[in-house]
């Protein structure tokens, strides 16, 4: 079943992600894909994440497909102009890649090639319209395509953005531009997320809550101080502290599993997107503890 069909079937969906490596040695990455195969419903492949140059997302999506897992092609507007983006989208489509996540992308200053010229010919909302248009057989300039694409397109949203309202205005623009599903920035406060969901439910789009495992109280404080749009509540920091150094990671896994279970049991959203960031091997453990395996 395609990712789209699974989402539309009403099943509580789980997606995870693979980060392509810098360099041609893909043994570890393949290991992660095999580990998650049959467990998650789709795998995001990041696009030069944090503006650090790595293997391109499309090539890795193809490998994910060859392992019988549904890939979600992440596409940012940082490195390609509208010609490059559309051409890559057509290419992805003929390779059998059906899911695309449209993003603007971290600035080159965040990455490892700070002297690069950032492109940003278009941005996330406009990229969503482009995908919509390719699906309808026309390119961005209005030319007819010989064969339309059939993408299932999604976008990202930050439910805890501060200030929130401009972010929500943008969310609505993304919905109108054709986004069918959203994967959120990491969330840790389920009650606050419920507020966001009661707003988001007004729109007929699927929402997957972002889950990032907390490895330690230190990591949680770091996130609060440095990462935009994520807030770890004090209770969780205390819980990690109380667990002590040895048990912190295990507690972090429990918190993630507990949140996922609650999101599912209370039918708060349509699924979760687990961003393991180097701990791909822990994803099955979280899923097991959440009662999903």
């Amino acid at each position: 079943m395609s990712f789209k069909d699974i989402l539309n079937s009403g099943k509580f969906v789980v997606t995870a992600e693979v980060g392509p490596p810098k360099g041609t040695d893909i043994k570890e990455m393949i290991h992660h894909i095999e580990l998650l195969k049959g467990k998650v419903d789709a795998l995001n492949v990041t696009d030069n994440q944090s503006a650090v140059m790595r293997i391109c997302s499309m090539a890795v999506c193809k490998i994910v497909l060859e392992h019988d897992v549904e890939p979600i092609l992440q596409m940012t507007c940082r490195d390609r102009n509208r010609i490059g983006l559309q051409s890559d989208l057509l290419g992805a489509n003929i390779l059998g890649i059906r899911n695309v996540l449209c993003m603007t992308g971290d600035h080159v200053l965040a990455g490892d090639h700070k002297q690069a010229k950032p492109v940003y010919d278009i941005e996330s909302v406009q990229l969503l319209s482009v995908v919509n248009s390719l699906n309808n057989g026309k390119d961005m300039a209005g030319n007819d395509l010989k064969g339309a694409t059939d993408f299932f397109q999604g976008a990202v949203v930050t439910p805890e953005a501060n200030p929130l309202e401009p972010q929500l205005i943008k969310f609505e623009k993304k919905v109108r531009a054709g986004a069918k599903f959203f994967q959120t920035q990491a969330i840790y406060d389920i009650n606050k997320f419920k507020e966001f969901m009661s707003y988001a439910r007004k729109f007929s789009v699927k929402i997957l809550a972002g889950i990032v495992v907390l490895k330690s109280a230190g990591m949680a404080s770091f996130i609060n101080n440095n990462v935009p749009g994520i807030r770890v509540p004090q209770e969780l920091i205390d819980e990690l502290k109380a667990a002590g150094k040895e048990k912190a990671l295990d507690t972090g896994l429990n918190i993630a599993a507990r949140h996922i279970r609650q999101l599912k049991d209370e039918n708060i959203c349509d699924g979760v997107h687990i961003m393991a960031i180097g701990m791909e091997d822990k994803v099955p453990i979280i899923m097991e503890r959440a009662g999903l395996l």
């Binding site: 940082r78 509208r82 603007t104 992308g105 971290d106 600035h107 200053l109 965040a110 950032p118 940003y120 010919d121 278009i122 941005e123 996330s124 909302v125 406009q126 319209s129 961005m140 990202v156 930050t158 953005a161 501060n162 200030p163 309202e165 401009p166 972010q167 205005i169 943008k170 609505e172 623009k173 109108r176 531009a177 920035q185 990462v227 935009p228 749009g229």
Partner: protein
Amino acid sequence: MIITKKRDFQELMENIKNYRSFFLIGCSECASLCGTGNQEAIDALTEALKAEGKEVTGGFVAKTGCQVLGTKIELKPFKDALDKTECILIMSCGAGTQAAVEIFEDKPVYATNDSLFLGNMTRFQMFDERCSLCGKCILDKTGGICPVTACPKGILNGPCGGCKDGKCEVSPDIKCAWVRIYERMKRLDRLQELCDNALEAKDWSMSIKPRTLVARPEKKEEKKK
């Protein structure tokens, strides 16, 4: 106005090391406001060059350094000093330097400044970039704040995920352009407009270089022929 910054003196000395004598031309417009092309700047550079054993045959502040014909006329009284100099130093922007290149066909012309951006003077000699001269202005739709320029990603439809507590992902020293636009539109009671109208991708063909403009109707006809 065009914001300029004085080049590092050692770099300038390296560039002009093959010449002995100089004529300095400032500009009374932007470069004067930036303090890079006013009389004080000319005097200071004159002193510095002399201290390095160079000769300064003369100098003056042009009214509008990027205006070729006007500057040419203004230069007439300086004929002797200009004949004596080996090299012309331009203390305005890149346009001013190239105006001088047009005027002095046989003399080397060097720039003492780097040209940075089109901006506003927010306080005395403090400047912010405000417009990227994109060729098709969208300020009417964004509450008069330019996202093409004020947002490092030039996003046209709202803040990116990197916006942290209203500050920009790229620098905590600047406020997110889209938070500013949101706040202004809210104050003007125009939020609905912001929400309803997704801005389309920009037409970058409007800013293909080099751009020219003929604003005189009779000249327009001539150019067509």
